[in-house]
């Protein structure tokens, strides 16, 4: 259990706002990329790297470190912004996102960027990778923890449920999966395209501890992480209700903002909104 106080929450909220600004600036510079899903999950990934995880940015390969797998790999700008802000690499790198030769690939590539624990981008594969990491932790009697972030659309991949089954089967209480429940995928709302609902009951049926929170509420994120720490004998799924595009009014909840980057005026407007 980690102590939670109002000051910390404010510090993390402030940090998440900085991360969102970096996401907008980075995507604006790149001219392409996934805006909505990066902004929406910014509070969760900020909480992980600035509060929850036991990591040492100067030693990205430290064996005892906690690990994070961005299973919804298209939110790479979010991961990069957090890693840069946390000191894994200079923030100037962010300007190279998606450009030829950059370590900041369109989707996270662990062979190109230190700090990225798993190479992702093909949906459904990251959570299996996270299960493998958690299994290794158990095998080696290490007490590191493994965190993952999945999209709600991503849950449509059968592989996610194969991983969910394995995680419960092997009693991986060192594994926590956040589900970024923003209700949207590319072709429309998840409920209309291919419903993965109800999500909590599915994870519960697979043998997971299930928590439901507002994923844009920092206090709820921290409290859920605290709860997950004391769960024994099974993995924890945190179903986090979020607003896709959170923080920029004209991007929020808009399906068409899934895979496009802000341009010109939009960049200025988004940054202005994130300045308040």
């Amino acid at each position: 259990m980690k102590h939670i106080d109002q000051q910390q929450i404010q510090r993390l909220q402030e940090q998440a706002r900085k991360v969102r600004r970096q996401i907008i600036a980075m995507l604006g510079e790149a001219g392409s990329g996934h805006t909505g899903g990066s902004l929406g999950a910014a509070d969760i990934v900020t909480a992980l790297y600035f509060w929850e995880m036991d990591i040492e940015p100067q030693r990205p390969d430290w064996e005892e470190r906690d690990r994070f797998v961005l299973s919804k790999g298209h939110a790479a700008p979010l991961l990069y912004a957090v890693l840069a802000e946390r000191g894994y690499f200079p923030t100037e790198y962010l300007q190279t996102l998606r450009k030829l030769g950059s370590p900041l690939q369109g989707h996270p590539d662990r062979s190109k960027l230190a700090g990225v624990d798993a190479t992702t981008g093909s949906l459904g594969q990251g959570i299996s990778w996270a299960v493998g990491m958690a299994l290794a932790g158990k095998m080696d009697h290490k007490d590191y923890r493994v965190y993952s972030l999945l999209g709600d659309g991503e849950l449509e991949e059968g592989m996610v449920w194969e991983a969910a089954m394995a995680a419960a089967h092997y009693r991986l209480d060192n594994l926590v999966a956040f589900i970024d429940f923003n209700g949207l995928q590319i072709d429309g709302p998840v409920a209309e395209v291919m419903s993965p609902l109800p999500i909590p009951a599915k994870f519960a049926a697979f043998g997971w501890e299930v928590l439901q929170i507002d994923g844009n509420d920092m206090r709820q994120i921290l409290e859920a992480l605290n709860c997950a720490r004391v769960v024994k004998g099974r993995p924890t799924a945190i179903i986090a209700r979020t607003v896709k595009g959170k923080g920029c009014s004209f991007i929020e909840n808009k399906v068409e903002w899934h895979g496009v980057a802000p341009k010109g005026e939009e960049i200025a407007r988004a940054l202005a909104e994130l300045d308040m």
Binding site: A30, G31, S32, G33, G73, R98, K99, L100, G101, S102, L104, Q105, G106, H107, D109, T119, T120, G121, S122, L123, G124, G153, E154, E156, E157, G158, Q185, I186, D187, V190, V193, M194, P196
Partner: protein, 311 residues
């Protein structure tokens, strides 16, 4: 020069095909705006099924629909259609000889900024290794549209490889297009270029440049990788004595390999294979990547010169 993406041509042709044939059903896996099946979905919502982000299930359902008499066109990015769903394609579609057309967009490195995880450079190799599978790689929008209709007539599995960026149109609307019959676009006796997909246009440009130096190269659009037009390959080997293959795909297992298999067994001549040289793609602009991986007119010209020295 007019430019159109082969995926755009696919989307439009699919609507026409749907008007002509009631048995056409289209599937997608949450990428209908990118693969352009959204056009069909708008026109024929009752014949469109979104599988969600579940490519294996999409292909499995396609086989089931086909077994019940539907002609199924199933689309997603090439990496997921041929990679994620490979064994479903192999067993439920090819092995069981189902009438499923896997029409995959965003093939090759010209996917661009999304990076190596999304750039399929192995799909031709995977698809051509399977019995029963017809493999078509159109060079431009016009032939892509023709291919949509041509694979309908096959009554069996087919793979149609489509690209993301707009590429120059090289054919007239009424140019002949026949599955299994390569198009001879230019005659020449000094060397032959056999290309597919977006590299056909570049091969033609290279041939024009070489002609100015007095080097006459034949150019062939091998739009069907399987069944392969072996007759034209042997003819070219005999006429020119040297062959350059060019594809936006790994040099392992694709067009170059297919041509070499025929040349080695039937009429050995020197061959140079141009393509992605056993590496993965990466993020960058489509044209920058073509440059980086050496898929340029300039490199084709240089390779033809090298090839002629080998004769």
């Amino acid at each position: 020069m007019k430019k159109i993406a082969t995926r755009d041509a696919y989307g439009k042709a699919l609507v026409e095909l749907g008007k002509q044939h009631q048995d056409v059903v289209v599937l997608d896996a949450d990428l209908s705006k990118s693969t352009k099946t959204a056009d069909f979905a708008r026109e024929f919502p009752e014949r469109f099924i979104n599988a969600g982000i579940a490519e294996q299930n999409m292909v499995g359902m396609a086989a089931g629909l086909a077994s019940a008499g539907k002609t199924v066109y199933a689309s997603t990015f090439a990496i997921f259609a041929t990679g994620r769903a490979f064994e479903v394609v192999r067993n439920s579609v090819a092995y069981s000889n189902m009438n499923v057309k896997l029409c995959a967009s965003h093939a090759g490195i010209t996917v661009g900024e999304d990076g190596g995880s999304h750039q399929s450079v192995e799909d031709i190799a995977l698809m051509r290794s399977m019995p029963n599978m017809t493999v078509v790689v159109p060079a431009d929008g016009v032939s892509a549209a023709q291919a949509v209709f041509a694979i309908y007539d096959i009554k069996g599995p087919a793979y149609l490889r489509l690209g993301r960026p707009a590429v120059p149109v090289i054919y007239q609307e009424n140019s002949p297009f026949k599955i299994g019959q390569a198009n001879r676009l230019r005659r020449g006796k000094d060397a032959a270029i056999i290309a597919c997909g977006i590299m056909v246009g570049k091969a033609l440009e290279a041939a024009q440049q070489l002609a100015q130096e007095g080097i006459e190269v034949a150019v062939v659009d091998m739009h069907t990788i399987k069944p392969l037009d072996e007759a034209i390959i042997i003819e070219l080997a005999r006429e020119t004595g040297a062959i350059l293959t060019v594809e936006e795909h790994s040099i392992i297992g694709g067009l170059g390999s297919a041509v070499c298999e025929t040349v080695c067994a039937q009429y050995p001549v020197p061959v140079i294979r141009m393509g992605i040289n056993d590496s993965f793609g990466q993020s960058g602009g489509p044209d920058e990547l073509l440059q980086y991986y050496g898929l340029t007119v300039e490199k084709i010209v240089n390779n033809v010169r090298d090839l002629m020295r080998k004769k």
